[in-house]
Amino acid sequence: MNEVCFKNLNKEECHSLKVYRESGGYKVWHKILQGEITPEEIIDELKTSGLRGRGGAGFPTGLKWSFMPRQSDGQKYVVCNSDEGEPGTCKDRDILRYNPHAVIEGMAIGGFVMNASVGYNYIRGEFMEPFKRFEGALKEAYDAGLLGKNINGSSISFDLYTHLGAGAYICGEETALLESIEGKKGQPRFKPPFPANVGLFGKPTTINNTESFASVPEILANGGQRFADLGVENSGGCKLFSVSGHVAKPANFEIPMGTPFKDLLEMAGGMRKGGKLKAVIPGGSSTPVLTAEAAMAMTMDYDGIEVAGSMLGAGSVIVMDDSTCMVETLTRLAHFYYDESCGQCTPCREGTGWLYRVLKRMTDGDGVPEDIDLLLSVQDKIMGNTICALGDAAAMPVESFLRNFRSEFEYYIEHGRSMIKG
């Protein structure tokens, strides 16, 4: 446990440059500055490591970095996505607070590999404590001559800046995030063109999640194979899981991919007093909900969670006990997506409104039997028909809640009240 992003977690002042350096931090960066490693070698190590994007989509990071037109002339950018807004997710906040230098080094390495001399870290507006931490670390790095122009007399330059959000979940979507840095509303762009060709300010750009960047220095310091070996096939390394909800000791845990869910539940202190496991959302609110049975048989890796019927997403494990009303829980999630839809595409804008209104009517005691089919048909019309994945994210919970807990919805409609809460 705690071998990569969290490896210094238990040390005093773990966020400081001093502690980061004592544990081998910036060694890889120094090698790069001395011309001892090539971009191609780094991409190969990342591919070997099996690191997949930690922001939710799980795209292999080495492959993504290889798509950047590094030989082309002109400015290029690396962007870190610290917008962390997916309900249930709170790991990037802790990386920024407790290991900011790993993010800085990871971004600088990315800048070198992709020939981008400028980076931005987009931090959600509410994260003022993590923002100040990260700014403090940036200052330390500049003062130590680790960032800037022609660093250490080399031909390598890398300038890194923060950008703060202002409260919009959709800005976590990578092209909405780029719009936001450009000072616009955070509305996702049509793709193609992809950011690797036309990104920030129209220039080639690569966007990665905070945890993805923070994993890079450790991978390169000890070799991609070692990282891969920490995990299982198809899911290299360790991953941070935020375990919240009805557990005795909610917390973030950095554990090897492939760890059984039941072990993770135990690390989180088991169920809180008196509760019996009822349901688990394993990857954040946008991923399908699982029954207790399916969850208890699952391993925490991309394939293991898929086999169980859901997705690893951002690793946000929301645990629910038998006091949970699934109708009311889904209604709250539906309200969230309705609120956060950017309104650009009709199926998402109208569909999220429908989903919420039908569920609201149900929880107000005015549901009708046709509502279940109506919900299923609305979610089906959203799936796959929108510009960005927020549409699917709104639809997927509906289908899975209804499939796994249908009788609760039927009860709510028939009796006008919750089967669980009365």
């Binding site: 997916e86 709170c90 950008h163 959000g165 909800g245 973030n252 959302i281 949970t324 969230f336």
Partner: protein, 157 residues
């Protein structure tokens, strides 16, 4: 409308972006101006930011209304932003919202008579393992209980 100190702060943000891309600083400029004007953005404030950043007024208006962190009607001196999303809800956020409303004598969205406090329900603030939680100013308060809320409210002046 924009003080010299605010201009200095905005200029520091502008420096982070390429030449001619000062509109990238609009989100922070609006926050800085909002903080100076009783926590809310008037039409004049939006115009002033537009002028300062050399942007069309409508572009600034769009940003000011798209993002949640901006207020367009009077807010309290302190805004309690309480999360009611899933992990907080599972840990009793709704009861705490009732408790706050009762204790302050206001509904969410309203300001106390003395102008000190308003309460806003917000979506996940990325602190789910500390649920239930709220934010006041730059600070997060986690693992809230009624007793903790009493103590926090007593410090708000």
């Amino acid at each position: 409308m924009i003080s010299d100190k605010a201009k200095e702060q905005i200029d520091a943000w502008i420096k982070k972006y390429p030449e001619g891309r000062q509109s990238s600083a609009v989100m922070e400029a609006l926050k800085i101006v909002q903080a100076e004007n009783a926590n809310s953005l008037s039409a004049e404030a939006i115009q002033a930011v537009a002028d300062y950043l050399d942007m069309p007024r409508i572009a600034v208006q769009e940003v000011a209304t798209f993002y949640e962190n901006y207020n367009h009607k009077p807010a309290g001196k302190h805004t309690i932003r309480i999360c009611h999303n899933i992990s907080c809800m599972l840990n009793g956020a709704d009861n705490l919202i009732d408790y706050l409303e009762q204790k302050l004598g206001i509904r969410t969205g309203e300001v106390t008579k003395d102008g000190l406090i308003n309460v806003k329900k917000v979506e996940c603030l990325g602190a789910c393992v500390g649920a239930p939680m709220f934010q006041i100013g730059d600070k997060y308060y986690e693992n809230l209980t009624e007793k903790k809320i009493d103590e926090i409210l007593a410090t708000l002046k």
